[in-house]
């Protein structure tokens, strides 16, 4: 059973604040979901390799090049910035 304490732990892991109504809702929804996926236990997978991408492929890299225009445009998307840096609450007192 996914009780309210466990939901609080997982919500903290997911970095999502939850109130009391949320706890009941997610407790019931996630418990139901975990019941649905119990059938995965019925199959023997000991000899099977995991498949991360289909078709199988290796990820490709590209040159690490600075794009000054994109950076400037990007910072303008921030809800709080000074044109050069993102502004966040004080981290160290």
């Amino acid at each position: 059973m996914f009780d309210k304490k466990k939901i609080k732990d997982v919500a903290q892991l997911a970095m999502i604040a939850v109130d009391d109504n949320d706890l009941s809702y997610f407790s019931s929804e996630i418990s139901e979901f975990l019941k649905t996926i119990e059938q995965m236990d019925a199959i023997n997978l000991s000899e099977i390799n995991p498949l991360y991408h289909a078709p199988d492929m290796s990820l490709k890299g590209r040159e690490d090049e600075v794009d000054i225009d994109a950076k400037n445009d990007g910072i303008n998307c921030s809800p709080n910035h000074n044109g050069k840096y993102f502004i966040v609450p004080k981290v160290i007192d």
């Binding site: 997911a14 999502i16 939850v18 139901e32 979901f33 997978l45």
Partner: protein, 490 residues
């Protein structure tokens, strides 16, 4: 001029012969959006001013004979394709004010051809849903019956094309989000092979499953758009070099048909499928048989494990992808955060809807220490056997036919209180995403006056052939030309 039901080729012909200008065509479809969309809620943004500028530019391309088949044709983009300078909300409060500084590769490719972006379509929040009911901007209605859902997550795109508010639209398909709404709305929708269409600028849900593609009236229209959006993109590390570069010409001959064998997975037609849908699909298979295709029963024995594996993998990837929404770099930020943790956690509480939060939490749990092997690793192993089942089947047959959805469009609100039931509506589409294969949903008839869709599934990079097979069927039938009555007038 009665142009709402014309194909891309017909519209292009009207433009190149100067029977109508792109500006007039754009105004025509924007007028239809303004006339009809209050009933549907299929658009989040109408891009009227910029669309008219793009149309005027397209007209100059046509005048200078620098036009392509798609030049001047209006298109609507699902609201997860980044559009420079234009709201891209992903159906979420988190991004309700987000104006991207760049275009997605799909968008820039089509802009460069002179297509006209008439607006951004509604969708389930962060593409998580099968009914378009999880959008922050409200549910979308199905043009065939306004009490019913259009499917999801590309429900806005499907509803808009079905009501002929746009000639064509883009969608994205993580677990069926192009094919299931295409099926519910009587349309043709292509989910390409993973890696065929660039994901650059497509807001991520589950990166190993997401794939963009067209939602259109016909296989021919899908082929025209797919020809232009496919291809390797250096900006997408999962873009695949093997995608075919040739244009799809839809010239499958009747002699070739006699050499094609279609597989019918027995289990798909025996467990949980609405009997009326089964009958409609059987009738359409008879049409294919008369055309000369061969059929053979096949087995996809591990089909029943698909839904658990899909929802674990998709949720795990979502929990990772959506960690970027923290109130710092872009998107919503909560008021007066006390500290950094408060900023992150309250921003995410306020910015995400319930379904998104649930999937993030499921994903965080499945990836956490002690549960990783039990859930995530098992799901990845099941993914392997599901792909192997398909590859074994393709040793016996060339393509596979399957239902797109176990039901027709359900009522708005019918499944919102039963998530398991909602998830099961993806049972025939999610295996294709796990296996990375291409699949097309085409309309094949009706059940209780609601459209029924059927999938044509192919091996990797066989989009050309599955589109050709669908095109041959659409030359023999007219299901794809039907327009919902309430929208079949000017």
């Amino acid at each position: 001029m009665d142009i709402y039901n014309k194909s891309i080729t017909e519209l292009s012909d009207l433009l190149s012969k100067k029977v109508i200008s792109s500006l007039e065509m754009t105004d025509y479809f924007i007028k239809r959006i303004k006339l009809f969309d209050s009933k549907l809620n299929s658009f989040i943004t109408i891009n009227e001013d910029e669309a008219r500028k793009q149309a005027a530019f397209a007209d100059s391309m046509i005048a200078n004979k620098k036009n392509h088949l798609l030049t001047g044709i209006p298109i609507a983009h699902k609201d997860l394709f980044s559009t420079k300078g234009l709201l891209t909300s992903c159906g979420s409060k988190m991004l309700e004010n987000y104006i991207p500084p760049y275009d997605a590769t799909v968008v820039s490719k089509l802009n460069n051809l002179g297509m006209v972006n008439i607006g951004k379509t509604n969708m389930d929040e962060f593409a998580m849903g099968s009914s378009n009911e999880s959008s922050y901007f409200g549910p979308v209605k199905n043009p065939w019956n306004l009490d019913r859902v259009p499917g999801g997550s590309s429900g806005g795109s499907a509803s808009a094309v079905a009501a002929r508010l746009t000639p064509i639209a883009t969608g994205s398909d993580t677990g069926g989000s192009i094919r299931q709404p295409a099926s519910f709305c009587g349309l043709t929708g292509l989910k390409p092979t993973y890696g065929s269409v660039s994901r650059y600028g497509m807001i991520a849900y589950a990166s190993s499953l997401d794939q963009g593609g067209p939602i259109a009236k016909s296989a021919e229209d899908c082929a025209i758009l797919y020809n232009e959006i496919k291809g390797f993109d250096k900006n997408d590390p999962t873009s695949n070099h093997e995608v075919k570069q040739n244009n799809i010409d839809l010239r499958l001959s009747k002699d070739e048909v006699k050499n094609i064998t279609i597989g019918i997975p027995k289990k798909y037609f025996s467990e949980g499928l609405d009997q009326n849908i089964s009958n409609v699909i059987s009738d359409s298979i008879d049409v294919f048989k008369k055309m000369g295709f061969n059929f053979k029963e096949i087995s996809l024995p591990n089909h029943s494990y698909t839904i658990p594996a899909y929802y674990i993998i998709a949720s795990a990837e979502a929990s990772s992808n959506l960690s970027r929404y923290d109130g710092v770099k872009f998107g919503h930020r909560c008021n007066d955060p006390k500290n950094l943790i408060d900023l992150y956690s309250r921003t995410r509480q306020e910015g995400f809807g319930k379904e998104v939060k649930k999937r993030i939490m499921i994903g965080a749990y499945a990836l956490s220490s002690g549960y990783y092997d039990e859930y995530y690793m098992r799901a990845l192993k099941i993914r392997r056997i599901i792909r192997d089942d398909f590859l074994s089947a393709f040793n016996e047959v060339d393509y596979i036919f399957a239902p797109t959805s176990p039901s027709t469009a359900f009522k708005i609100g019918e499944k919102t209180s039963n998530a398991t039931d909602m998830y099961l509506s993806d049972i025939y589409t999610t295996p294709v995403n796990l296996a990375g294969l291409p699949a097309l949903s085409i309309p094949v008839g009706y059940s209780d006056n609601l459209p029924v869709g059927m999938q044509i599934i192919g091996n990797d990079f066989t989009e050309d052939k599955i589109l050709e097979i669908a095109h041959l069927f659409q030359k023999e039938t007219d299901w794809h030309l039907h327009v919902p009555e309430a929208f079949s007038h000017e």
